[in-house]
């Protein structure tokens, strides 16, 4: 049994300390998902806290044969989708978002490139906010959390073809925003990850 399973097992038996190890381990992916979904620090913090509380309350229902990370991200994604549906309008502060990024490390090989990369991410967040909540969750799980299509399907209670379709639609929606000039990060044209 690995550390994670030991902590899960102990947490199931009521150990707060064991669960706090799990919180430490997964706070960044969960917070990142909530932040990318909701676009605000405060709501992302609240949503992350709520996710961990829900996980703590439902730990008895977690199937140890599945990935704990995916289970946790599923709770976070559903919670954020519910919040967005209740909210029904996008809330996103560009100034707040830009200010949140840490300054680039001067020791990195090319600070200018790093600044550009971060600007790209700011613009990417704006574009993410234009997507449907479930499509956004699928894109975040795929690219930020490296989830496979099967894992995304489990996390979002969708079928694998539905995930493929949503990813396809979301990528094209983002690309059309780029095409319309909504997003212009300064990336070299025709540079593709396939090369």
């Amino acid at each position: 049994m690995n550390d994670e399973m030991t902590w899960i097992d102990q947490a199931r038996h009521g150990s707060d300390e064991a669960f706090s190890y799990l919180v430490e381990m997964y706070q960044t992916p969960v917070y990142n998902l909530c932040h990318r979904m909701l676009g605000e620090d405060e709501t992302a913090e609240d949503a992350s806290q709520e996710t961990f509380i829900k996980a703590y309350r439902n730990l008895g229902r977690y199937d140890a044969n599945r990935s704990f990370a995916t289970w946790l991200l599923s709770i976070a994604a559903h919670h954020c989708i519910d919040l967005l549906r209740r909210r029904k309008y996008p809330v996103f502060s560009m100034d707040e978002f830009e200010g949140d990024y840490e300054l680039p490390d001067k020791n990195i090989p090319d600070p200018q490139e790093e600044v550009e990369r971060r600007e790209e991410q700011v613009h990417m967040q704006r574009m993410l906010n234009s997507l449907d909540a479930t499509d956004r969750a699928a894109i975040i799980l795929r690219y930020w959390n490296d989830c496979s299509e099967v894992e995304i399907a489990r996390a979002l209670s969708l079928t694998v073809p539905a995930v493929k379709s949503r990813l396809h639609r979301a990528r094209h929606a983002l690309a059309s925003l780029v095409e319309q000039g909504t997003f212009h990060p300064g990336r070299r044209q025709h540079e593709s990850p396939a090369f």
Binding site: Y31, F52, N58, D100, M124, R171
Partner: protein, 177 residues
């Protein structure tokens, strides 16, 4: 313009050979749709992770403790309301019974007995009518239709049970477990 092979090359994880790379480059120069897709894919491939402010774990413990306190308060309030309701109902019932017994105990006993007898008689009548109806309808409906109807009935019951199970099971956690 046919985008399909190029989209697959852009989004797939397989390494392209030199011919495919040249073909893709040529296509991207002419196709704004695919070049935009390549641009988006490039950015998505190197995402930055957002981290919470330091002390997230401590804030979680505080939230958990606050949530526990809230649950305790709600449980106490729920039990209090339940106990008060039971007390009020029992009190009202007690007052009604005592008043009736004092006023006319025989009449009260007779009315209770009549009520129970009516209930039993109604149940028997409904049972008899249902049996007659089933016998009559059975002669009109052919066997294949019976099978279809029973299957549909079973499916409806199964759907109902599944819905109840889904609603009662945790909204989030149950989906993966």
């Amino acid at each position: 313009m046919n985008h399909q092979p190029f989209e697959d090359w852009l989004l797939g994880s397989t390494q392209l050979d030199s011919t495919q790379k040249r073909e893709l480059e040529a296509h991207l120069k002419d196709c704004t749709s695919c070049s935009s897709l390549a641009e988006v894919e490039g950015i998505l491939q190197s995402p930055l992770m957002r981290s919470p402010q330091p002390g997230f774990g401590n804030r979680f413990q505080e939230s958990l403790e606050a949530e526990r306190r809230l649950r305790r308060v709600r449980t106490r309030q729920g039990l209090g309301i339940l106990a008060l309701s039971a007390f009020v109902l029992l009190g009202l019932a007690g007052v009604f019974v005592m008043t009736s017994i004092r006023a006319n105990p025989v009449q009260m006993f007779v009315s209770w007995l009549t009520w129970w007898l009516n209930l039993v008689a109604s149940a028997q009548t409904i049972g008899s009518v249902s049996l007659v109806l089933i016998k009559v309808i059975a002669t009109f409906i052919p066997l294949p239709l019976w099978i279809v109807l029973l299957t549909a009935g079973c499916l409806v019951v199964l759907g109902w049970v599944m819905t109840l199970w889904k609603l009662s099971y945790s909204k989030y956690a149950g989906r993966l477990a």
